[in-house]
């Protein structure tokens, strides 16, 4: 019964309905990626999945319970979330940040147990930030910073890890660094990861399960090979494309139509 799912979920921002009566089931132990064009509600949906946004109608269910009926601490012990563009106070070190991840597990006395210490150390090792533990978060590179934040969520020790655009604003090398890390965490420990990504090709490469949102509903979901078709891209992203195969990984590779230098004699632009 350890599942995360939504039940007739409707979400609005003010008067605007963003998501309408959505039934979504997040597969356990896999990496699920939410995709869709700007404004389609992927971040909104993610926020609601981690109890940050209250639904207008419907419920989000975790382990058989409505998460909005659970206390935030109880939810925080099962779900960790990394919002978009998090900011740390000036002067906060990496190890101080990661230690915050133990907040939901501490009782009102604030006792620091051995387990707390172990979780923090392991999180820092898994994300390879143990070496920069004493540096301040704002002095790190983009990729290092994201790894530090991910370490914090790991220290939380939850089964589910939700990330809202963890790679936006990072350069490509750092994007790969972060995504590789997440892929490893899932492969080694079976953590369920849900994230919102913009890059469709990287989504196909790293995701086991893809959910394409359009027009307030799920347009398609499934393995990237099934979801990423020219038809889907046309309907969801309003883009004409070719779907090829990634030469390194064999996953779907999306090539949009349009203009550009044509190096192929047979290509009609």
């Amino acid at each position: 019964m350890n599942e995360l799912l939504t039940n007739q979920l409707s979400l609005s921002y003010g008067d605007q309905l963003i998501i309408e009566q959505l039934n979504l089931h997040i597969p356990k132990g896999k990496i699920t990626i939410l995709v869709g064009s700007n404004g389609c509600g992927k971040s909104t949906l993610l926020k609601s999945l981690c109890r940050l946004l209250r639904p207008g109608e419907g419920t989000v269910v975790l382990d058989g319970q409505d998460i909005f009926k659970m206390s935030t601490k109880a939810v925080a012990r099962k779900l960790a979330v990394l919002p978009q563009g998090p900011t740390a106070p000036e002067g906060l070190t990496v190890s101080q940040l990661v230690r915050q991840g133990r907040y939901p597990h501490q009782n009102f006395m604030g006792q620091w147990t051995r387990q707390d210490e172990e979780m923090v150390q392991k999180a820092m090792e898994d994300t390879n930030v143990a070496g920069i533990a004493d540096r301040t978060v704002d002095s790190l590179s983009g990729g290092q910073r994201q790894r530090a934040w991910i370490a914090m969520t790991l220290a939380q020790g939850t089964e589910y890890l939700l990330l809202d655009e963890p790679t936006t604003y990072l350069d490509l090398a750092h994007q790969i660094e972060v995504l590789d890390l997440l892929y490893d965490l899932n492969a080694r420990e079976g953590r369920t990861i849900v994230m919102v990504l913009h890059d469709l090709n990287l989504s196909c490469r790293y995701g086991h399960h893809m959910v394409a949102l359009s027009n307030r509903r799920v347009y398609a979901q499934g393995a990237p090979e099934e979801v990423m078709t020219a038809e889907t891209v046309r309907k969801v992203f309003h883009l004409e494309c070719e779907i090829s195969t990634d030469p390194l990984f064999g996953t779907p590779l999306l090539i949009p139509h349009g203009k550009g230098r044509s190096m192929r004699p047979a290509h009609s632009g």
Binding site: T72, R77, V81, P83, P89, G91, L92, S95, G101, Y103
Partner: protein, 341 residues
């Protein structure tokens, strides 16, 4: 309480503790020095003898009725103001937030001036009570007006500024109608002064500060987690709204309590947390005590300088704390220019 200190288990935690100790020693030394200073300069051994009750009546009188209570009051009020500012900056996540910037002190001033206007012979006890209630009332009004499915730091700031303008305008209106004597008293209160502090004040502040400080320390983890942003904090399971309300209440209680005794002394709540952060970092388990010690130092030294340098005039300490505000801002600008953007 010891277990709370264990939350900083990683290496580097000893450094803040050592700095706190150094601050405490500095405060103690300053306290001793300040007690000696004044229109009649007492040597340290004279002070010691005086405390032990073994000196002549004049020294004893100065010590007991003036110097010691005044210095102790300065320490306690300064500490309260320092902690109050730290709490507010922690939950609002902006280093320019302070009780006098978002209207809390203004509320205290307004009620104090109201009291002085309509009950000119009311006595200082009720004046203190009035100002305290004013601070709490202002905090409540700001909170309620900023509440829209919860309270965000930005709304708190903006509403606080609005409320601050209103209290300022109303206070000015009252003052323009008051008799000269009341106006003089009111301005003295608004500038802030430790003059005339007695042992009753000390007892009051001691109890009040201890209680509020205890709760503040108990909340230090919650303030830390709010520093990461509302979304991250909620994601970590923090009861954001509940904690924020309590923190604001504590901040208002501390600054209101201090103002009740020493008037609307400003800027300690703004400056002390900054210096504290430079010294011990952002973890509130260390920052709160650091701000308390620094705030105490600032007010103690300001008051001592204010009452000795311009003898025979006893300049109100509030003039000096405001004067410190200026170089502080300049320092802040200069220092951050090199690391911003």
């Amino acid at each position: 309480m010891k277990s709370l200190f264990k939350t900083a288990a990683a290496k580097g935690a000893s450094a803040p503790k050592r700095k706190l100790l150094a601050l405490a020693v500095l405060l103690a030394a300053s306290y001793a020095a300040c007690v000696c200073a004044g229109s009649l300069i007492l040597s340290p051994d004279a002070v010691l003898l005086g405390i032990l009750g073994k000196s002549d009546s004049q020294v004893k009188m100065i010590l007991e009725t003036v110097r010691l209570p005044r210095a102790t009051t300065a320490v306690l009020a300064g500490a309260a103001l320092g902690v109050s500012g730290t709490l507010l900056q922690g939950t609002i996540r902006n280093p320019l937030a302070a009780p006098n910037v978002i209207g809390i002190t203004g509320g205290g001033s307004l009620f104090a001036v109201l009291f002085l206007n309509y009950f000119p012979d009311g006595g200082t006890v009720f004046l203190s009570l009035a100002s305290f209630l004013g601070a709490l009332a202002a905090a409540l009004v700001v909170y309620v007006l900023a509440f829209k499915k919860g309270v965000t730091p930005i709304r708190l700031i903006l509403v606080g500024i609005g409320v601050s303008s209103v209290t300022s305008a109303l206070t000015t209106l009252l003052l323009s109608k008051s008799k000269n004597a009341a106006v003089d008293k009111a301005y003295l209160w608004m500038v802030g002064s430790v003059y005339g502090a007695d042992w009753d004040d000390v007892r009051l502040l001691l109890v009040w500060f201890s209680i509020c400080f205890f709760f503040s320390i108990a909340y230090s983890r919650h303030i830390d987690v709010q520093g990461l942003g509302d979304e991250v904090a909620a994601g970590l399971g923090a009861h954001l709204q509940r904690h924020r309300a309590v923190i604001i209440l504590l901040s208002a209680a501390l600054s209101g309590g201090a103002a009740a005794v020493v008037g609307a002394i400003g800027f300690i709540g703004l400056i002390a947390p900054h210096m504290g952060r430079r010294l011990v970092g952002t973890e509130h388990i260390f920052l709160l005590p650091a701000s308390a010690l620094i705030g105490a130092l600032i007010l103690l030294v300001s008051d001592t300088v204010a009452r000795t340098v311009f003898l025979p005039v006893d300049v109100p300490a509030g003039v000096f704390t405001a004067a410190i505000g200026a170089p502080f801002f300049i320092y802040q600008l200069y220092h951050s220019r090199n690391q911003s953007n």
